[in-house]
Amino acid sequence: MLEEARSRWHPIAATHDLQFRHVFHGQLLGREFAVWRADDGYVNIWENRCLHRGVRLSIGINDGRELKCQYHGWRYSNRTAGCTYIPAHPADAPARTITNRTFPAIERYGLVWSSEEPRGEVPDVAALAEGKLLALRGIPVNAPADKVVERLKAYRFQPNAAIGGEGAETIVEAAQDFAVALHSRDGGAETHGVFFVQPVDSNRSVIRGVLDQEAEGAARLAILRHHNERLSKLRDEVEREAASAPAPTPIEPVYERVSAELAEMPEVTTHGRKAALRVSVARKWQTADGIAGFELRPIKGILPTFQPGAHIDVHMPNGEIRQYSITNGPGETDSFIIGVKLERDSKGGSKCMHETVREGDVLAISEPRNNFPLRRDSIKTLFVAGGIGITPLLAMAQALKNQELTHELHYFAQGEEHLAFADRLKYLGDALKPHLGLSPDATGAELRQILADYRNGMHLYICGPGPMLEAARKIAADQGWPDTAVHFEYFKNTNKIDDSSSFEVALARSCVTLQVPAGKTIMQVMRESGIDVPSSCEQGACGTCVATVIEGEPDHQDVYLNDAERKAGTKIMTCVSRAKSARLVLDI
């Protein structure tokens, strides 16, 4: 029976067990769950085991958006159960595939239901029309579920309205493997009670009773007490009976193995410009002058885990592909929110998003990619945003705000009406510092002030139009910020690409040597010979196509690497950069 039980839905908690910011320890058929409700209402039922070192997540911390493991502080996102941050390696974005096992959750009859491999639906109980119900306190019993069900058939109780009485007549209306429906009548008073039996393990169960009428105050307490007393007595009887039989062996839960790549902790591998996801435009609105907000919801299933700083490729109806940063705060995983600025000289990207795309339209997007990861080990983080450059930094600031880490968001814009995502900005409180209507010179002066007091352990993140970004980087460098503390993301590469050189590229791991002629990129040549290269912006701005240089001198033409990285010469953006030496050996 327990084998078959795996494919059924069972109650694992009462709705009232999922208190605000609490993590409930659920159990079913030998398996443990960490059950928690995020602030957006979503009920998460996860394997009760951190993927890192097996610590129970039920002793973790529910911050309303993410669940944090107690041992090393790994953070897992609401809904997706994907790991969003690994504090031991603050500079790295965790591989997207570090995702805990989730189980389905349905709330019904005041109970939370789940199943290991659900087939079919949560049982429909005629006696319990949804609405005013009263879920009793769960009664744990050290006995197998079938024995408990047998006893429950003989359970007698008073209807709610005659709770103090004695003479009620209780009849069995229906009985199944894991539930008994009873009806109690005492004169004019009657109550339906359905008693579900949750099989915790081969020899342990929980009785979860639900009555078809609600009650308040003292009456409610009296009813709860009545059932508590009678069910406790029933429990004692079943336990006595069960103790006389040999205890069945406990069920050993089978833990899924982590993927082979994860066991090696590799780099994230994403290939090509693939639009793996279909989303619909749930909402489109003007979030600021010239900026449209888009809320993208999955057509089916749930969206993948994202981290602050991540972007998606949006494939537009007109065939263009553009990158947009996800502005969501942590744990906001039911949709992606992006902001699109209408570019005056738009080549069809932003124009199409503004003018053609409507609510209800379906778009293809890529998985989120994070080439702009946020460190959270900074003693103070400064964000400098110019115009639409706010989008990745907004996601980052919300993450730090949620963890109560010190930060400031300096938002440069032409005027009040140009500040996007007002609701999200408001959430940041005093950390938001708008700087409005400043000339380039005044902006420079302001930046010099903002960036004046560098201390070891601080980090700076900049995103905005090219000239402002250049200015901010220069000011930071002048005022003593080391390259390693300054992180930036360009919207686009405005460098004029010189593709006149020709050279040879050897791919060490693939054992091929290719000739790159003038006019073609390394990426194009690799793809022509059938090598899968991940990419996104394809203009040297986003960092997706990075490759490791083993030998040779790169001719950097991207805007992704910082000066120290360029000098080191160990990384190259294969979509624009080339070789100064006659030969380049890449670790591909």
Binding site: Y71, R257, V258, M265, S378
Partner: protein
């Protein structure tokens, strides 16, 4: 649970109690690898260990057949259920005359010995489990360090380990990186060297010796061998007990309790290099007790 059949573990020396806590002539009972043992110091102060039996009440008349190998090393009584090697692993610092040596604590923990060793090797948990003592947010980074399995000494060595510690020295109140070196010279024992707050050139030594009660229970004996002339024993002990008390609830909430040796059972990160080496080392030794071996 069946008793230990793992020959590697059976043939090791295992700690069973602190000498300092033994009263001459007094018999102590304990459990090692699911066997009930008794031990006492004889008139010469030498430890005598035997399989417990109701008719033997003291160290003097233990039948030879029930007697077990015994030694007193690093302040503890050690024994073995098999044929132990002639020597126990070396801790040369123990001989340095100016060091304070004490048994800081003996703690029972409901976890396997290898899980407890991994916890001892792990720096990443300092800000979360030993908050404000051994680490503090946001200083969470585990910087690159080196690990080797030394073949001739048959032990794991992790060097160049550094971790940010608030109030790292008594001299300044700011935090700073503290250096650590870890050794695992025995499957169930580890030795840690940590920058001394009083002498820059030398290191404090803290060792954990785990007594495997069964596959999922240990008694952890913690040896301190430190350069500290000022603090009372009580203070030094209390500090280590606080640290240990913080680890205990985490260790007892690890599932499964035995250490899985399958590399795909859990998700390692670079910070876990020493743990990865440790798991591999246990696998190579063919250890089966206290672990979940890789499925064949």
């Amino acid at each position: 649970m069946t008793k230990c059949l793992d020959p590697v573990i059976l043939n090791l020396w295992h700690p069973i109690g602190a000498i300092a806590e033994a009263v001459p002539g007094g018999v102590q009972d304990t459990v090692l690898l699911e066997e009930r043992l008794s031990f006492a110091l004889n008139a010469d102060g030498e430890p005598v260990v035997w399989r417990s039996r109701p008719d033997v009440q003291g160290p003097d008349r233990v039948p030879a057949a029930d007697r077990l190998p015994a030694r007193s090393t690093y302040g503890y009584v050690w024994t073995s259920l098999g044929s132990p090697p002639a020597e126990l692993f070396p801790i040369p610092e123990y001989e340095e005359p100016d060091r304070r040596k004490l048994n800081a604590a003996t703690f029972g923990v409901n976890v396997s010995a290898p899980r407890a060793i991994e916890n001892f090797l792990d720096m990443g948990h300092f800000p979360y489990v030993h908050t404000d003592i051994l680490g503090v947010e946001p200083h969470t980074e585990v910087k690159e360090y080196d690990v080797e399995i030394s073949v001739d000494r048959d032990e794991i060595l992790a060097t160049r380990c550094r971790f940010f510690q608030p109030m790292a020295s008594t001299a300044s109140d700011g935090g700073a990186d503290v250096d650590y070196v870890y050794r695992v010279p025995h499957p169930y024992c580890s030795v840690l060297y940590k920058s001394s707050p009083v002498d820059e050139a030398r290191r404090d030594v803290i060792a954990v010796f785990l007594q495997p009660v069964d596959q999922e229970h240990v008694r952890a004996h913690m040896l301190l061998c430190v350069l500290d002339e000022d603090n009372e024993d009580k203070v030094i002990k209390r500090f280590q007990q606080t640290i240990f008390g913080q680890d205990k609830p985490i260790l007892e909430n690890q599932v499964p309790k035995r250490l899985p040796l399958d590399p795909r059972a859990e998700t390692p990160i670079r910070a876990d290099k020493s743990a990865i080496a440790y798991r591999r080392w246990l696998s190579q030794k063919g250890i089966t007790y206290g672990v979940i071996p890789v499925a064949a």
